[in-house]
Symmetry: C2
Subunit: 537 residues, 2 copies
């Protein structure tokens, strides 16, 4: 299933009539797979900003439904507001959030553009990354003249809309649909005067003090202002591109600027939502800067919050402000990993079939990573810390890759069974494809598990003796795990149609197991000796 | 008036009967000058801890009233609870908070002890700083055997109570009254395991790992534990003595301990209330460590909160957690400084007499300090920053001393007028004493103002020219201010009885003014020249 997450932030030109605001919000909320995160009406600006996330298709669908409703309810001929606007829906950007790329967003912008143009006959201008013409790339360029100037402008060749009719639609105007990067509104608190804060802002922001005196940070706008209720100054940044300038860079540069003037930074404040990646990037930066080793997401997040001082003005609640986590809180729970252990036992007992696979694999996984932890952290093994640490990381990341495979394996096996039931014969082209999946997952699993051996060897050699038994058990289980995956591959191969793939799949499975058996017994013997040797002294 | 603030934390042996809990709370609340900050009943421990602050007399009075009520309502013969206790009121410590010393607290402990002993005939043991005998200095020593063992223990010579009868009072038992330092419950958050947190705690706490392996920090107890709901470890400190180990030392040492193990600290958490001094000490430490210059209390506090990461788990609201500020929020507003400017104008217009004094002095004060600020912070005067800064501090602190003198002056003048009215003759011994006050305050004021000249001179010499006018105005006003104070001294001397003090008071006042006039004109001339010189180029 599609795990890409894209944010869409359409602005509609009505911030006063509550009914219209709710009707549009409703159209978005009831679209499947869409998660409405915020509705932000502005009385004086007379416009409302909607923020929602979902898979590419879902957000396109949501935006489309919102426009369909707005078409009935907003009449631009009667519209006034302080913020410049081009149509009933002014801008509609698509922003990448979780493992989705800019192309995905450009793709969404085009699909939505085309549908709005052809099905609802709305003039559409592509902007940002979605537009290929330099003179109409940014919003201010396209919006010049606003709605009132659209009547004659839209007939010029230069301003033929990318989609929809090239004529003036009085009740709607035109809309700008595009793709842009996630932009972060980030304020850094300073104990200084407004001018000093403003100075640092001038030194850092991209356009600096105008031509020839550019600032240090790319893709950053910033000004310094005074925050009365807290009685301190702030540098207010807009980070328009995280690759160019991530959060922590902006923060550290501001700190350097402050130290240069012997001023001090007292934390910072993020306005609105933030993607997990931005926080993680900050955490990773501090982890390797202070050479820490933290690998739990919520601890990494806590580290980032602390280092950036995100809670200095208002508490920063990760579950509420990090998009992926806000979204997950509203997802349905995962069937196998979230149920309690006893009821899991019962599941297994019902033989809901693949449960067995899973319980092998992560008993393996958990065991091995535990090994590392055991030696890590006690005082009398301190001199081994450095090596231990270098071992831990690979161990941990492998475990993280193994867990989801458990789910994947269940799904693969079920879709194979389902394919058999629908096509009524196990040899149909579909069933075979599903079967191949059901084989590759356990094989992939065995590969990952086998990549643990070298790490485990080191662990065993320099491990601490008095929880020797845990290491021995771990090794046995690893061998058993790979063995299990092998059986699983062999059996599913039993009903694989073409022979040659069957042969080399079986060969690889067996090979993986033989190396496992060989490793296990070798390490165990070495351990046995140390223990005896240990025994005598 | 008495600005000393002392905290009193009596423990009464009833945490279940709400009526008793409220009755005691009421007895404290209705004592004049006392501020009840917290009531903390414990079901299982069956005891309640009351926390209140006030002037020495007020807290003694409050404690006394609480005991009087408890005498009626608590019967120890029926008392059971999990926490060890010696009597209906177990311990009653007095703790110094704002400009009050340990002696003040010992004094309170003795006064309360005596009153409880003689007026209510309750056996009292002095403890902590208030006790002079080594074998009965700490609570565990005195409380050994608890209430049940008191019957025979109290008849031994070693355990004759400091106050009250040396016999067993069945319904009450005995009480320990003493003085101790403010103790801080301070937890440092760590991204580590419980053992590592515990290790650092062992390295730092005073008793270390028992005999011979003492920790680094004096007067500190600590353990490491795991905080499940936040999924991280904490080092939980009790800082029993801030001089020995202030907040920031505990924090920095923990950070060093963490870095040594390549772990990371993610903020900390203060439990309960904290004295301003503890926060300020931390702020001062970071100010001179990073050589900042911050002198506003609420900014210093904000700095300390940020550096110690006090808001990492829950928001730390200074007004609610810093004792002095929590207390002030409930004080009545100050008559002159807190009223709005227009209604201040009207006050002046009513000629409520000393208003004039004040408006001189702080127009002076504000002016001068403004001077410093003016040059400070703009970019093109950057090379002067260092000197500027060294100037700012003295300027600022003088201003802080000048402001309260404004109030003091008003009060001094009024008490003189009142003395005249009560004794009906201006020459009575009282009236003269009050008159002397009414003279010394403006004189003291003139002294402080005169100490500004050297600083102002430097300011003028290296000041930035384009707000020259402000400097000139400042200098004139300073001269005027001192002049005003002089007039005030002269006039009040007019009705001073003995001649010789009159003469040298007048002499000093005149001297201060002559130097002021001399300084002002000299500096103004130099400025005039620079400006001309500036003028031509």
């Amino acid at each position: 299933m599609d795990r890409r997450l894209i944010e869409c932030v359409p602005n509609f030109s009505d911030g006063q009539d509550q009914k219209v605001i709710d009707a549009i919000a409703n159209a978005i909320k009831t679209t499947k797979g869409v998660n409405l995160l915020g509705v932000d009406p502005g009385q004086s600006t007379n416009r409302t900003v909607y923020t929602f996330v979902g898979t590419p298709n879902a957000v396109v669908e949501g935006a489309f439904n919102a426009v369909k409703v707005a078409l009935e309810l907003i009449d631009m001929t009667k519209h006034k507001g302080e913020h410049p606007r081009l149509g009933a829906m002014d801008v509609c950007p698509f922003v990448p959030v979780r493992n989705s790329t800019m192309e995905d967003c450009v793709e969404c912008a085009r699909i939505l553009g085309r549908r709005l143009g052809e099905e609802l006959s709305i003039p559409i201008y592509l902007y940002g990354y979605a537009s290929t013409l330099e003179y109409r790339k940014t919003v201010p360029q396209i919006r010049a003249g606003e709605y009132e100037g659209l009547k004659d402008k839209i007939t010029l060749d230069d301003w033929k809309p990318n989609f929809g009719p090239a004529r003036f639609v009085p009740k709607w105007g035109a809309s700008m649909v595009g793709a842009r990067k996630f932009l972060l509104a980030y304020n850094i608190n300073m104990l200084s005067t407004k001018e000093q804060a403003h100075r640092i802002a001038l030194d850092l922001r991209e356009q600096g003090r105008g031509k020839g005196k550019e600032g240090k940070l790319k893709g950053v706008q910033g000004i310094g202002w005074w925050l009365k209720e807290a009685n301190m100054a702030q540098i207010s940044f807009n980070l328009t591109d995280q690759e160019l300038c991530p959060l922590h860079v902006a923060f550290e540069e501001a700190k350097k600027g402050a130290e240069a003037l012997n001023l001090s930074v007292v934390g910072s404040e993020l306005v609105g939502l933030v993607p997990l990646s931005a926080i993680m990037a900050a955490a990773d930066y501090y982890i390797q800067k202070e050479s820490l080793c933290i690998f739990e997401p919520d601890q990494k997040v806590r580290l980032a919050i602390d280092r950036l001082g995100l809670s200095s003005l208002y508490p920063f609640d990760p579950k509420d402000r990090i998009i992926e986590w806000k979204v997950e809180a509203t997802d349905p729970p995962k069937p196998l990993l979230d149920i309690s252990v006893t009821s899991f036992v019962n599941e297994v007992r019902q033989g809901s079939p693949p449960a067995r696979v899973c319980c092998i694999s992560w008993s393996v996984a958990s065991l091995t990573s535990m090994v590392g932890l055991l030696t890590y952290g006690k005082r009398q093994w301190e001199h081994l810390d450095k090596e231990m640490r270098s071992l831990i990381l690979p161990l941990y990341s492998i475990v993280d890759e193994v867990l989801p495979l458990v789910e994947a394996d269940t799904e693969a096996f079920e879709s194979y069974v389902k394919a058999c039931r629908e096509t009524k014969n196990p040899d149909s082209e579909e069933a075979q494809k599903a079967l191949l999946d059901a084989i590759n997952v356990p094989l992939e699993l065995a590969r990952k598990l086998s990549s643990l051996w070298p790490h485990i060897e080191q662990v065993a050699t320099l491990g601490n003796p008095n929880c020797l038994s845990d290491i021995q058990v771990g090794i046995k289980c690893l061998e058993t795990g790979i063995w299990g995956a092998r059986c699983n591959v062999l059996i599913n191969c039993g009903s694989l149609a073409d022979a040659n793939t069957k042969v080399d799949l079986v060969k690889e499975a067996n090979f993986l197991y033989d190396t496992a058996k060989h490793h296990a017994s070798r390490i165990l013997r070495t351990l046995e000796k140390d223990h005896q040797a240990e025994g005598e002294k």
